[in-house]
Homo-oligomer: 181 residues x 2
């Protein structure tokens, strides 16, 4: 447990109320997609470990409905989370295989390149739409929680960045089309 960013992401989400591993995965995909992701293989074992360390606690399962294991943050968990917030963040780490391949485009079969570019464009389009949707929702609400402002700013950043990716991809599709012709 040196960095264990995963556990902190989980703690952050639990600030708003108890969640299951499944919920957590979904929320990360929804809220943090443009700058973060996690897999189940990370989340479930991490939750277990966190419970053992007293950062979270398992709620008694409600009789009705599907079997789900909801976890709640403990006061110790909150403390740990605040400590994490007050240590300097690591620098950004990213890996875009598409761009790496794109650099060597002359060695790629043209139809493959087209496929990759379209998939990239689409991923960015989806993220862009999702983020715009979130922004719409957030701007409808009167500022209530102290985080509201910051989350909205992050969403706006996501929109700007994804728009840059998206527009680049659109233009590149046009440019490649012209090259072929």
């Amino acid at each position: 447990m040196k960095h264990a960013s995963t556990s902190f992401v989980i703690l952050g989400l639990l600030l708003d109320g108890p969640l299951s591993g499944y919920d957590i995965k979904k929320l990360i995909g929804l809220r943090f997609r443009f700058f973060w992701d996690e897999s189940y293989g990370q989340i479930y074992p991490e939750l277990k470990r966190m419970a053992e360390n007293g950062l979270v606690e398992l709620l008694p399962s409600e009789g009705s409905g599907r079997p789900r294991k909801k976890y709640r943050i403990t006061s110790g968990g909150l403390e740990t989370f605040k400590q994490w917030l007050n240590t300097p963040p690591e620098k950004e780490r990213l890996r875009m295989e598409f761009l790496m391949k794109f650099l060597y485009a002359p060695l790629i079969e043209p139809q493959n390149l087209e496929l990759y570019l379209e998939a990239f464009r689409q991923r960015k389009a989806e993220e862009l739409n999702m983020l715009k949707h979130v922004r719409e929702e957030m701007e409808g609400i009167i500022e209530d929680s102290p985080n509201h402002f910051f989350i909205l700013q992050a969403v706006k950043l996501g929109i700007d960045v994804n728009r840059a990716y998206f527009e680049w991809a659109e233009n590149m599709k046009l440019a490649l089309g012209r090259k072929e012709a």
Copy 2:
């Protein structure tokens, strides 16, 4: 060796001529910084493994100068690289701890938040300047190699994206300044 993207990045760099592990690290930092990074702990062992598998070969060391071990790509390496180029890229994976923390800004000590934001701004400023510099250089050259066009496009994307980050950070600094006052 399932994905082993690192080895492919190395192969790509070796297309332009023999390089040492040190060179490779530097080049990645220079050319790919805005969408990729590697550490020595990845590169040196990977080079060794690749030599064992015949993807690269160690050049006899030149007598003069510092001790350096330059590797050259083999024809097998080139084949492997082309195959990799023609398999669909993974989706982007990224992790921006700064943004994750930013979401919980009200729980961060104001002076810490300021520090983090400034560090973020500066990283983006550096990347932006570096990329602009590369663009300048590249636009001076008459299109010679077939990659030229694609590399330039990638650089331009990097500039757009980093500008978005940078400007966001600048505005956010102003906004936080006003909040304090």
